[in-house]
Subunit: 312 residues, 2 copies
């Protein structure tokens, strides 16, 4: 299996638009995905920042179908398919493969805590065996601050030994650079290690990593792509600094409502601010402060910002 | 709305049997539920110890339908219906109400961490409004050691003020007796506070609580029921001590595989040991030790133990 079929570069965990009645909005999602692809950013739909865990399996299947039907290239998609329930993960993963997705991003089952690596291995193995497709490429999703259940370096070793053609890489959202480095160094270039944000992008690429999958790519794709392309040039350090500067404007842990507020503002489209419970909208004070900071940085969303000049 | 329609007593979060191919086994589940009801223990199917979060929504609906079709009284059922996704929680809760279930046990959405009480309130409120049935009775499920997202006393206050007829009680699996006590004292007798295990049963009843929902009721229902009935008699302290003694035999955090191993042993039915990933079976060493301890306590499962004398 050639490593050439594996992903690298910059991906956005695509934010999911909702109508005011909280139903998913395929039209706005298609438009957003089209813009991200035009910026050469891949589509990690149904990630954490997509509110994917607030969507049912049928809702995710419907959205994926609508994207593909509307010409969004599935080869550029890495949908999240890891659920609590084994059978849900199998259903979603199978659908992603059958839809032609270039890979899937897979959380471990995350409800039961303190489970063993044996149990997690068995979970991933069952999904792989049940999907039973040589076209499946899994990018493991390690995000212990949210899922609480992680994917250890030792588990990655076991899985890649057992399924070398299927286990294609990992997204490391641990926030622990040493963990990312251990993954890159121990697994080699055919195993694609993505940082969970652009914060570590330059370090990731210099160490031999594959890129990043970052929430901020939803609003700042061009600048992140630029660093990805120019990381070996003298401009790289300054580009990384500018990425930090923009990221620092976005309030944590309110990243999702903040990203939606930015898109809503630049498109002059308030419906984009809608989030599903248990999340709550950003609120006016946070939004005003965010927009003020972005204005100071002369932030823009080219090709996505008809209303930008009047809003900032 | 009379408080008489609310639950009290002892409930088992009913363990879910699987076939060797990991599909749910309705036949064994029906037999287990029938036995639990004969011991006057209610059915909290699809709880944490039911591996409910390893089951898909269609699997849970199918199992609930099979139980009801086979004469298991839905009025004695409190199925777990709280999922990560709002739409899943609505689907399951609506199905439980339409099936005649006496109540539902509802986790908060548990993937996104650090969410506000406003967001959780909105989540529960959306489910209640969408189900839109006066027959709905919600027992909130507070289990921060597993779900990480809890249901605070303040959130309980807000929900009961907004939906006094719907929000019927809570299962407190925090392991923090002071939290249970605060819930009992602040909410009064019409709000049914269940302890998350029999460890606090006597204290719960003396303080004015409603009973317990405990994993060990899957194997030890009669003894737990006995304390529930005799808590005001001099025998109560000794009965509580005996419950502790048995519970201490069951290895944590391996409670689910241990309970299944006990049932498998007493029924001489090894298929009962099957668990879904990410859980793993108990293993021979743990099982042998467990059975030795149970034999020392002269533990039995009357009416469920044809094979017991030969196995212990």
């Amino acid at each position: 299996m050639p490593a050439a079929d594996r992903f690298s570069g910059v991906f956005a965990p695509v934010i999911t638009p909702f109508h005011e009645d909280l139903s998913p909005d395929p039209e706005r999602l298609i438009a957003h995905c089209r813009w991200l692809l035009s910026e050469d950013v891949g589509l990690a739909v149904f990630g954490t920042n997509s509110e994917a865990n607030s969507l049912s399996v049928p809702e995710k299947i419907e959205l994926l179908d609508r994207l593909v039907e509307n010409g969004i290239d599935p080869a550029r998609m890495m949908p999240g398919t890891g659920c609590c329930a084994l059978t849900d993960s199998v259903t979603l993963t199978r659908h992603a493969v059958n839809s032609g997705c270039g890979g899937v991003l897979m959380l471990p089952p995350f409800y039961y805590k303190g489970v063993s690596d044996d149990g997690l291995f068995r979970s991933f193995a069952e999904i792989i065996e049940r999907v039973g497709s040589a076209d499946l490429r899994i990018y493991l999703y390690h995000i212990p601050p949210v899922s609480q259940v992680g994917v250890s370096v030792e588990l990655v070793e076991r899985l890649t030994r057992a399924y070398p053609d299927i286990i294609a890489g990992i997204k490391d959202s641990s926030g622990d650079w040493n963990n990312t480095l251990a993954l890159i160094e121990r697994r080699g270039a055919d195993f694609r290690v993505f940082s969970g944000s652009e914060t570590f992008l330059l370090r990731n690429l210099r160490a031999g990593g594959a890129g990043c999958i970052s929430a901020t790519a939803n609003v700042n794709p061009a600048a992140i792509r630029r660093l990805y392309e120019l990381w070996q040039t003298p401009a790289a350090t300054e580009l990384q600094r500018e990425l930090h500067e923009l990221r620092d404007c976005l309030p944590m842990p309110l990243m999702i409502p903040a990203l939606k507020a930015v898109v809503a503002t630049f498109l002059d489209d308030p419906e984009w601010e809608t989030v599903r419970p248990p999340l709550t909208p950003l609120g006016r004070d946070h939004r005003d402060l965010l927009l003020k900071k972005l204005a100071e940085l002369k932030f823009a969303m080219p090709g996505r910002s008809a209303a930008s000049s009047s809003r900032l």
